[in-house]
């Protein structure tokens, strides 16, 4: 437990992904199994259960400290785990502490009535920072700024493997990942995942260039809408035979279906409405969207007949990152899948077939299966570069579509970003002239420079913040801006500086949505600084009203 707590402590204060990765790699190299595997699970968010509930912690501290003093302390510290870690009144140091594995094991097996007592005993053994680590671990609330994807990359680097191999294995193995880790160290065989539902690294596209459009040859390409949802992979195998009794690989997962993001994060828990109807043995590649007629169609099993009524990205956003979505939300914002490719159908691997062949099989399969909430992406036609351009501008008039996808009909399904196979042609970004209001120092290579900016639009005489952005500068501009902020700062709120409302940015963004969260009532999607308008007076920047005109539908 000491090593894990030290690791968290260091990760918490270390800035920069590289330095964090170095710390984690050192930990993996120097910590025995199965402790290190549990630590990886905790960081990657793959622990399957809470050791104790937040409420258990709150009750426990209320029994052991003065509630008034706790309330005043919590008010100041701002976080329950840390407040408890400092306020826990009993201390009987034990050295060494029980291992991480033994703590996980204890909580996994302890009777419900004993959880609180067990936690209390552990807290008494520990220092405040160890207590904090335990409380964060036990409520699965580690926030250390390391994504699951980074953990996979760190593991890949540790074992000198391609991250795709880790991604493929990841969902088929479970904590404490003993075999996986030993395989990475060359001490064990690669985990066998033949029957498991797992993520298959996806094929990605390149942005299209003018020359690609000019060289467009009709008949060679599949043209589709580029939908404004999120790319997902649906992996299902409900037909697993129970034949792996000889299994020495006890870590193999028994999950039957899963929805993955394009980076391989398992997002199944957010979309039970999509997954519940899935049966079979397939891996589908498609776009997850809020589809307004998805659920009603589900009842009649007509999903693939009526065209999907696609809602905005904003509607989908409300469904993302929900650990357990409310029923009402699933009813008001039902999700569906527009499928554009298949890697596996009926248990058969299709990746070595051409897109044309895969598409034929996929269309027939969807037609035949009529799975609720699953739609086939429709294809579009163009017979010349000129028609293609016309098609693009026509498609972009529809705000629920982001542009066009062009995929070579003769391309096999190759994970990664192979050249010349798939292209995306996004619609031109929207732009707004906004005034910078606040600045904050950046991180990593931008650290100590003011490089994160909040900007606003006019409502009458008042500026209201509409967004925040930090990308889009050259190093030269960054220095100049940093200098400008220093000379024009008028106030300070913690690390944030307020600046004179004098400098205009041309901000590019993909879409604007209504938002209750912001005073301005709007939220921009993917805002980035396009140009710094040193020349433009602030009072000529755009109004909030003008921005609201751009809201979808």
């Amino acid at each position: 437990m000491e090593a894990f707590s030290d690791l968290l402590e260091q990760l918490y204060y270390t800035a920069g992904n590289k330095a964090k990765a170095q710390l984690i790699a050192d930990y993996i190299a120097n910590t025995p199994d199965p402790d290190r595997g549990w630590a990886i699970a905790a960081m990657a968010g793959t622990l399957r259960f809470d050791f104790f509930k937040r409420n258990t912690v709150k009750k426990l501290i209320a029994e052991h400290t003065d509630p008034q003093l706790f309330a005043m302390s919590y008010d100041y510290v701002g976080e329950v785990s840390e407040t408890v870690a400092h306020l826990w009144p009993h201390s009987e140091a034990v050295s060494p502490l029980p291992s991480l594995h033994s703590i996980v094991d204890t909580f996994a097996n302890v009777a419900k009535q004993q959880v609180s007592k067990t936690l209390a005993d552990y807290l008494t053994m520990m220092t405040p920072s160890q207590r904090w680590a335990l409380l964060k671990l036990g409520t699965r609330g580690l926030r250390i700024g390391v994504s699951a994807r980074s953990i996979k990359q760190i593991l890949a680097d540790y074992g000198n493997k391609d991250i795709k191999e880790i991604e493929t294995l990841w969902h088929a193995v479970t904590p404490p990942y003993t075999q996986l880790l030993q395989w990475l160290e060359g001490k064990a065989d690669k985990p066998d995942i033949e029957n498991a539902v797992t993520f298959h690294p996806v094929m990605l596209s390149h942005p299209i260039e003018e020359s690609d459009i000019d060289g467009f040859e009709p008949g060679m390409w599949q043209i589709e809408n580029k939908y404004d949802g999120i790319r997902v992979q649906l992996a299902v195998n409900t037909e697993k035979t129970i034949q792996k009794i000889s299994s020495d690989n006890t870590e193999e997962s028994d999950i039957e279906k899963a929805l993955f993001s394009r980076t391989g994060d398992d997002i199944s828990h957010s979309f039970p409405d999509l997954l519940e109807h899935m049966q079979g043995n397939m891996v589908l590649d498609g776009e997850l969207l809020v589809i307004q007629n998805a659920s009603e169609e589900a009842k009649e099993s007509l999903a693939s007949i009526a065209p999907p009524k696609v809602d905005t990205f904003n509607a989908l956003q409300q469904r993302l990152n929900k650990k357990k979505p409310a029923k009402s939300l699933m009813q008001s914002n039902p999700v569906g899948l527009i499928v554009y490719d298949a890697l596996v159908l009926e248990g058969e691997q299709l990746t070595s077939l051409t897109l044309q062949e895969r598409r034929k099989k996929l269309a027939a399969w969807i037609e035949h299966k009529k799975i609720p909430r699953v739609f086939l992406s429709n294809t579009l036609e163009a017979s010349s570069p000129q028609e293609l351009r016309q098609l693009h501008s026509r498609v972009c008039a529809n705000r629920s579509v982001e542009g066009l996808m062009l995929k070579r009909l003769d391309s096999t399904y190759v994970p990664g970003r192979p050249k010349g196979k798939w292209f995306k042609w996004k619609r031109d970004p929207l732009v707004v002239d906004a005034v910078i209001m606040y600045a904050q120092r950046g991180h990593g290579k931008r650290s100590s420079f003011y490089s994160d900016f909040t900007f606003g639009a006019w409502q009458g005489e008042q500026l209201l913040p509409i967004g925040k952005a930090y990308s889009g500068f050259t190093d030269e501009e960054l220095k100049k801006l940093d200098n400008w902020v220093r000379r024009n700062a008028i106030g300070r709120f913690g690390p944030v500086r307020e600046v004179k409302k004098e400098l205009v940015f041309e901000v590019a963004f993909d879409a604007v949505h209504p938002s209750n969260r912001h005073k301005s009532g709007v939220a921009l999607r993917f805002p980035r600084i396009h140009r710094i308008r040193w020349d433009k007076p602030a009072n000529e920047a755009d109004t909030l009203e003008a921005l609201k005109q751009l809201i979808e539908r």
Binding site: Y13, L69, Y76, T83, H86, R441, S447, P495
Partner: protein
């Protein structure tokens, strides 16, 4: 006569009416009694100042020889009188020259403890428990979450980091008066005898400490280092404000260290962008505050600058009458050097 009738706060600070003097006033006054040299307690320009000889020296170093027209050195433990008010300075254990002040008037004793701590500090004599009717205590760290670890632990963290990151310049933010010197002494005690490099703002006060025969070992101003790359793997001490400043960009591969009592709270450390927070304070932590109230055992506790609510609540729970005394201007950290 109850002190609340003759010791009052106004916009300038704490005023003793029958004695005609202020304690640690914010602005220029006729007569000022100064507990210690931190800038939010010791201001320049008074007509007449009473303070320990170290505090006067600190004020002269900061504000010049003529920082006050009349400068009176007080001897600790010796009583002086202002009209009918008897005044005695006692050590407070906060920084070099720091004092608490006992006022006696018409049968009542009140102790203005200033800033103080109860831990060992080689640069000043320990806090003296002075029995009184009213104790005025600070509450900078007046919440039970604040328990400062032994300074040796924190110094170990820094030395450990130097071993793990031998090529990174360890830039330590520490207030120029008190914290900086205590940190240096603790490093020397832990066996660190390499030169320690200083930001310009730390130099004069370190010189002053050395004039008072406090050995700080070899100190080198960063400005005298020709090739800043040679500072890789070394310790540089700078005021906290310089950590994220332009100045620090000339240093090689900086690891930001911050020495302050606030570093116990993660969010505070994060706000400071501290990669290595060291919990080192020249103030009392919560247990020390409670211990002091118990030992002094006054009839009343007046609580000032800090988190008064919790300490008042606790003092009342312990059976003391407690009230908040709002004093203007004492800055928690930036000036005060916790």
């Amino acid at each position: 006569m109850h002190p609340s009738t003759w010791l009052k706060t106004d916009n300038t600070g704490l005023f003793c009416e029958p004695g005609g003097f202020y304690i640690d006033p914010m602005t220029e006054v006729t007569t000022a009694l100064v507990t210690h040299g931190h800038a939010d307690h010791a201001r320049a320009g008074h007509h007449c100042v009473y303070a320990s000889k170290e505090t006067l020296a600190i004020m002269q170093t900061r504000y010049g020889e003529d920082m006050a027209k009349h400068q009176h050195t007080v001897t600790l433990g010796e009583t002086i009188t202002f009209n009918d008010v008897s005044v005695t300075f006692y050590p407070a254990g906060h920084i070099l020259g720091s004092t608490q002040i006992l006022l006696e008037y018409k049968g009542f004793r009140i102790v203005v403890s200033g800033d103080y701590k109860r831990r060992h500090d080689p640069t000043c004599p320990p806090f003296k428990v002075v029995p009184c009717d009213v104790l005025i205590t600070e509450a900078t760290f007046g919440l039970p979450v604040f328990k400062h670890p032994p300074i040796e632990n924190e110094i170990d963290k820094l030395l450990h980091s130097l071993r793990v990151f031998p090529k990174r310049c360890h830039l330590v933010g520490a207030y120029a008066l008190g914290k900086c010197q205590r940190l240096i002494i603790a490093l020397r005690d832990a066996g660190y005898h390499k030169p320690i490099y200083l930001h310009g703002a730390q130099l004069k006060l370190c010189d002053l400490y050395q004039q008072f025969n406090i050995d700080l070992g070899e100190l080198i101003p960063v400005s005298e280092v020709g090739d800043k790359k040679t500072l890789a793997g070394e310790i540089v001490i700078a005021p906290p404000s310089a950590l994220s400043d332009r100045w620090s960009r000339s240093l090689p591969n900086v690891r930001t260290v911050m020495a302050s009592g606030w570093m116990q709270i993660r969010a505070r450390a994060k706000q400071r962008n501290a990669e290595l927070p060291l919990i080192i304070s020249d103030h009392c932590d919560w247990p020390e505050l409670l211990m002091t109230i118990e030992q002094v055992n006054p009839k009343e506790v007046w609580v000032t600058h800090g988190r008064e609510d919790a300490l008042m609540y606790q003092a009342e729970k312990m059976g003391y009458k407690a009230r908040a005394l709002s004093l203007v201007g004492y800055d928690e950290e930036e000036q005060g050097g916790d």
